[in-house]
């Protein structure tokens, strides 16, 4: 743990400030050159990074949350999304600085374990993995809602639920199993496919939102009694901000592939900050358009697929169909991106032997980490079975927010101690206010969640601490030598 005394490298305290430069190898714009002299090609450019960020986030914020958020907070749900964007930005800046100093797989886990030692590392690493599992499950429930809405739209009679499982959950589980199987099988060009999907989504949204804005502004003039901005008071605006924060988890996923980003010192900060700004603006506009079309109570009743009805009201049947299709793609791409990030997170902890090394073993034939992907897909599918959109979303946010808080603390710790290896090429503007406020805001978000989510999140964290003391207590993080 962080000991304020700078310790000579031989003493055990050196653990908490192991020099990751040795571990990372030399970073160039296009490769990482490892200690053994091999090169690791960096293949993700700025657009690839933005795609990971936007592709992960957009599914939740636009295609799942608008109805729920407006139902909770009224038109002021736009403010909830705005608060989320500001908190995300305050954390994205410190994350970007740390990522340029340590451009390596594992994202938040890596920074925190190298800045604050292995206990914090283990807690963050394991909760990042499970946080992404919860997030994936949440996206898949969203997918189930859209798949069901498609079935209803093409006129099939609504089939009965299967026993305790709702139909939505069954569809989500099927999609989860298929995605996991695809990633294990070593699908090629997932990145290219993801790029194409995100471009398509942005295209559909641009048309829909433009028409919506033009129409909504006309309505506002005509309407005699516009709905009150905060019909349910200020409290729900804040609790909704906590709920919808899941829509901003994607920027940290960019950090999990930091080891594969080209020109990391330029592209990492741009991709992280850029994707938060793009989706933040889209979310706020979407809520504005949605609440202009329907009253917030009505939107709340429409639930996860409310945005389809909004599109129908502006653009008729073609609009509804376009948004249905977009919703299917968006939720799948979010789930897919999260599965891949979660497997990277597991790799990072197993590499440091905080969990058994076998977990991240790569299969030579398929080239994929079978076990890690199964450890993401398996629990995800179980969670999808619960079908609890809001709970899954909040637990995912809880686990991420703990990491965000610690990222901000890590930044302050590293800046104060400024170890020799810490040479970020991107500097957080407004230090120390930005990381301090970002860290405090992250923790404050948790306070506004439902008690059930807080309890589940806390249990996961206690579990991670327990795992550390049972299994990984004497792990020394790599600094000098590569220990097997």
């Amino acid at each position: 743990m962080s000991d304020d005394q700078p310790a000579p490298p031989e003493t055990p305290q050196a653990d908490s400030h192991a020099d990751p430069a040795v571990d990372i190898g030399e970073t160039t714009d296009e490769t990482t050159i490892t200690e053994e002299g091999s090169e690791l090609e960096r293949t993700i450019g700025l657009s690839g990074g933005l795609t990971i960020g936007i592709g992960t986030m957009i599914g939740a914020g636009i295609f799942v949350f608008p109805g729920l958020a407006a139902g909770n907070a009224g038109p002021a749900a736009a403010v909830s999304f705005g608060i989320g964007a500001i908190v995300a930005l305050l954390v994205a800046l410190p994350t970007a600085e740390l990522a340029t100093a340590m451009p390596k797989s594992g994202g938040g886990y890596y920074f925190i374990s190298r800045g604050m030692g292995s206990l914090f590392g283990a807690v963050v690493g394991l909760s990042l993995w499970l946080g992404l599992v919860f997030a994936t499950a949440f996206y898949l429930v969203g997918f189930g809602e859209y798949a069901l809405a498609v079935l209803v739209e093409i006129g099939l009679p609504r089939p009965p639920d299967l026993g305790p499982l709702s139909l939505v959950a069954v569809l989500g589980v099927l999609c989860g199993v298929a995605l996991t199987a695809l990633s294990v099988g070593g699908t090629e060009n997932t990145t290219k496919l993801q790029n194409a999907i995100v471009s398509l989504l942005l295209g559909i949204l641009a048309v829909f939102l433009t028409v919506g804005i033009v129409d909504a502004l006309g309505f506002l003039g005509a309407e005699t009694t516009p709905e009150e901005f905060t019909p349910f008071g200020i409290g729900p605006v804040l609790s909704t901000a906590a709920l919808v924060f899941t829509s901003y988890l994607g920027f940290a996923q960019i950090a999990t592939v930091a080891g594969e980003m080209k020109e990391p010192s330029r592209n990492l900060p741009l991709a992280m900050v850029g994707s938060v700004i793009v989706v933040g603006v889209l979310y706020v506009v979407t809520i504005f358009v949605a609440t202009s079309a329907f009253g917030s109570r009505e939107l709340g009743q429409l639930g996860e697929t409310a945005i389809v009805e909004v599109a129908r009201s502006y653009l008729g049947l073609p609009g509804a169909i376009a948004i249905l299709i977009a919703g299917l793609f968006a939720t799948v791409s979010s789930a897919n991106a999260s599965i891949l990030s979660a497997s990277r997170a597991l790799y990072a902890v197993s590499r440091d032997t905080l969990v058994p090394k076998e977990v991240s073993r790569v299969n030579l034939r398929y080239g994929t980490p079978h076990l890690a992907l199964a450890l993401v897909g398996g629990p995800t599918v179980l969670l999808v079975g619960t079908g609890q959109t809001e709970l899954l979303a909040e637990v995912a946010s809880f686990l991420h927010l703990i990491m965000y808080g610690l990222i901000c603390v890590t930044l302050i710790v590293l800046r104060r101690q400024s170890p020799e290896w810490y040479t970020p090429t991107f500097q957080t503007p407004g230090y120390p206010v930005v990381p301090a406020v970002g860290g405090a805001a992250s923790i404050a978000m948790i306070a506004f969640m439902q008690p059930t989510s807080q309890v589940v999140g806390l249990f996961v964290m206690i579990g991670a601490v327990g795992w550390y003391f049972l299994y990984a207590r004497d792990v020394r993080l790599k600094g000098g030598e590569m220990d097997e």
Binding site: E30, T31, T32, I33, T34, E36, G37, S38, E39, L40, E41, T43, K104, S105, S183, V184, G186, T187, E188, N189, T190, T191, V257, G259, E260, L340, S343, R344, Y347, R351, S360, R361, V362, L364, Y366, G367, T368, P369, L373
Partner: protein, 251 residues
């Protein structure tokens, strides 16, 4: 002890006869002895590469397979050394092998990239020539190859009217090779009339040990069906040395 990697720091001088030889060592891709022998007179950058899907971090594959990769690569290096060749080994883990080849070719100012294919023996080298534009680099590379295979200069004329132009092109090329010190007895000329030049080249390449061809043939067909060199390599089942012809306007 692994081989030395010091030379990465040293950027070679513009070297029109250096060759990048990528081998997917972990997939058991083999380099035939005949090929190693032909390449023993030129500077070779031996690139052991492993392409992994996006699901896997490059570091992850490196952690697990790097040792195995280095061992394999050392075997190839020894093979080159046994034939008196000079080799700079490099290893790369990548999500995108073609991008990696391109980067390294630019970094080291490589003259030609080898597309590997089995080559039991190389006693004929096919050199398809499309026009006068890329002639210099292609012939310089061809003349630099060691041992004495027969060199077949090949041109596919689109129609009978253009036969004469083709003949002239081939004799210019032959003269240039001779000037570069190639024994005229080893030089053969072949002219085919065909409106599908790629197929004509592939057909001519079937009983050839090695094809030397210029990259980026500027034709619409290439844009639609992929790089001509790749298609020939696929059809001919022999190794293809793709000569980089536009080394000046690199990005």
């Amino acid at each position: 002890m692994p081989v030395m990697y010091a030379s990465r720091e040293v950027r070679w001088m513009s070297n029109a006869t250096s060759v990048l030889v990528p081998v997917a060592a972990l997939q058991g891709e083999a380099l035939s002895e005949a090929l190693v022998e032909v390449l023993s007179s030129v500077e070779v950058t031996l690139l052991g590469y492993h392409e992994i899907p996006d699901q896997t971090a490059t570091e992850q594959a490196h952690d697990q397979f790097n040792e195995q990769m280095q061992r394999k690569l050392d075997e190839y290096v020894e093979l080159f050394a046994a034939h008196g060749g000079t080799v700079t080994p490099r290893t790369v883990f990548t999500h995108d092998a073609p991008e990696t080849f391109k980067r390294i070719a630019i970094e080291e100012d490589i003259g030609a990239i080898l597309v590997t294919n089995p080559a039991p023996a190389i006693d004929r080298v096919l050199v398809p020539i499309r026009g006068p534009v890329n002639l210099d680099p292609i012939l310089t590379m061809t003349a630099a190859l060691s041992v004495d295979p027969e060199i077949v200069l090949f041109h596919a004329a689109p129609s009978d009217e253009t036969r004469a132009d083709g003949e002239e092109l081939l004799s210019t090329a032959a003269a240039q090779l001779e000037a570069a010190g190639v024994d005229p007895d080893r030089i053969d000329r072949q002219l085919a009339v065909s409106d599908t030049p790629i197929r004509a080249i592939s057909d001519a390449a079937t009983d050839t040990g090695l094809v030397v061809i210029g990259e980026k043939e500027p034709s619409v067909v290439d844009i639609i069906f992929g790089d001509a060199a790749d298609r020939i390599a696929e059809a001919a089942a022999s190794p293809v040395l793709v000569v980089r012809t536009d080394r000046s306007d690199e990005d």
